[in-house]
Symmetry: C2
Subunit: 355 residues, 2 copies
């Protein structure tokens, strides 16, 4: 340790993976999903106050690394996130993430947090919030196509926010479905493993597609989808990666987060640039219509937007004071005299061990 | 702690401010400046292998928060950095920063580091590297206009790389000059405090301007600058902020890092879009000429580019194995089965205290 301890300003609260797990257990996962959905809804309501930009992506043969910044003029936030579908083959996560909030007025970071878990929560919270606005009334059955890392979170959020209790499950790899059933058994769901997407969507009012291959795939074709369903298409999030046949898009009313990003990454990348979409923030503020009638197909082309991460980080920050579930990270140098960074370095009396 | 410790993959080496200070003391600051300059030079030589983009800035009334990503196809890096000139009035740093390296092939972070100190080092290393290519032969005297947080680092780098030993110092606030003299006294420099920029540049072959006001300023006017000098203009780094009168730019040969960024942020934002500039990477590879003759005015319009941060982070990463000057940060969730993020959460047996 330094002879003179760094001042408080030098420290940034950091939420590790372990502390995030503690926070989720402390609050309860369904309560936390509802809490985050509430923050996301609040931030959609004040959509126009945000600085918005499509995420900044660095593509490679195997995947993508993205930065997702936004700001409401008082707080700045960004997330680092990768997407590497082939990672699972070598025992690694497809998606890992961390994020930061900073004070716009000073530029100083005020929170650093793991976001692998938090992204799973905010993605599920967003899907369920959107479904609450768009799904047919009294929807209680969801088809879940793709039973990977995101699937349990989707199930719990859809129950917490929309009352879904029956799940019809399909994955190209039956082991994934077995894992999902193992994780959710005993939690009060009615679970059915299905042997095809077609079987999975029988009787479902909500259809969630959440697969991760980096290619144009056709998880759903047009003839499979009946009237009156809500499709929650969240697996597509990359140029060159889609899940739905374009004919479904033509029959559905398509809802998106931020059109400039979704047109590049979402299912609608298959469609012309002027393909009509409705922005979710407008549905939430009442400026645009959501579901029009019981036979309409609504489709949420969700790709994940920076404001949702911002909302989730705000939620976490607001819970830290009461729970203390963070470490103090020596991330920012803070000399006594801000112009004297060199003096701080020169005068530091440091032991030789690593902290 | 968790009953089952996170696997190695969950941890990211983190270099705190304190460990960065230890690393600088261990290596020696002038050696470290030379080392970083070497990495920067190497990366300029392979300029064409980098993914390059102007930094992504979020401007507010009081300052700017920026993300600076780049990638060489194997390693991805980015820096978070703010610039808030009014911060010093409330005892805060104008510039704070941290950065990250990640593996392009998996998207997993491999290093998180403080970069407030490291940015000071890389900025000075870049200036001195450029001066080594452009300054007149046997330059031994530098005028330093602006004696803030960056000034000592500039002085040491210019000595380590270019042999500068005489410094002529000016700051609008005499206390800043006194601080600089206090910090450098006893380190073998010949130091002269001056009462005007004009006095400071008398007899200097290198003129460094490094001021931080967010406005169009005119630290140097054309009639002050004689033939044969090298101007190292590093204070301008924001739209609306410049330090030099445009007439100087017209007389000088202007060298830049990355034109799309410098034309927005640098001194040349005052000039037409087709104002001729030479890219430093081309000087370093030999594809473009540097200093042509002894009477030429060379001007480095330095704004700081992402590859320089990438180089500095590479240098730090390469020193960690031998020094161990890092902590292991629980930043990335790593379930046994990558598709079973929820299972990891569900099975975690966590004590209730903060780690």
């Amino acid at each position: 340790m330094a002879a003179v301890a760094p001042s408080e300003l030098a420290f940034v609260p950091f939420v590790s993976v372990e502390n995030m797990m503690r926070l989720i257990h402390r609050i309860g996962i369904e309560e936390m999903l509802k809490g985050i959905a509430g923050y996301i809804e609040d931030d959609f309501r004040r959509w126009e106050s945000f600085d918005k930009t499509p995420r900044i992506a660095s593509h490679s043969a195997e995947g993508v690394i993205e930065l997702m910044p936004t700001s409401d003029g008082e707080v700045y936030g960004f997330k680092y996130v990768n997407g590497h579908p082939k990672n699972t083959k070598s025992g690694l996560q497809t998606v890992t993430a961390f994020g930061l909030l900073a004070d716009v007025d000073t530029g100083y970071p005020v929170l650093l947090s793991e976001m692998t878990l938090l992204t799973a929560l905010r993605t599920a919270a967003t899907s369920a919030l959107v479904a609450r606005y768009l799904a047919p009334e009294a929807a209680d059955t969801m088809a879940m196509i793709g039973n990977g890392a995101q699937s349990e979170f989707q199930a719990l959020a859809m129950r917490a926010l929309c009352g879904v209790s029956r799940l019809r499950l399909y994955d190209i790899d039956r082991k994934a479905t077995d894992k999902l059933i193992g994780n959710l058994s005993g939690l009060g769901f009615d679970l059915t493993a299905c042997s095809s997407p077609q079987e999975a969507i029988e009787g479902a009012q909500i259809i969630t597609t959440c697969t991760a291959d980096k290619q144009y795939a056709t998880i759903l074709t047009d003839n499979m989808v009946g009237a009156g369903v809500h499709i929650n298409a969240i697996g597509g999030d990359c140029p060159g990666k889609t899940e739905l046949h374009s004919d479904i898009l033509k029959r559905a009313t398509v809802f998106v987060e931020y059109p400039p990003q979704t047109r590049v990454e979402g299912e609608i990348q298959q469609m012309p640039e002027d393909f009509p979409v409705t922005e979710m923030w407008q549905v939430i503020t009442g400026a645009a219509q959501g579901r029009r009638d019981a036979r309409q197909i609504t489709l949420f082309d969700g790709v994940g937007f920076a404001t949702e991460d911002f909302s989730a980080l705000r939620f976490v920050r607001d819970k830290l004071a009461a729970t203390g579930l963070c470490q103090q990270l020596d991330l920012v140098a803070d000399p006594d005299d801000p112009r004297d960074l060199f003096g701080m370095l020169q005068r530091a009396t440091l032991s030789e061990g690593a902290a």
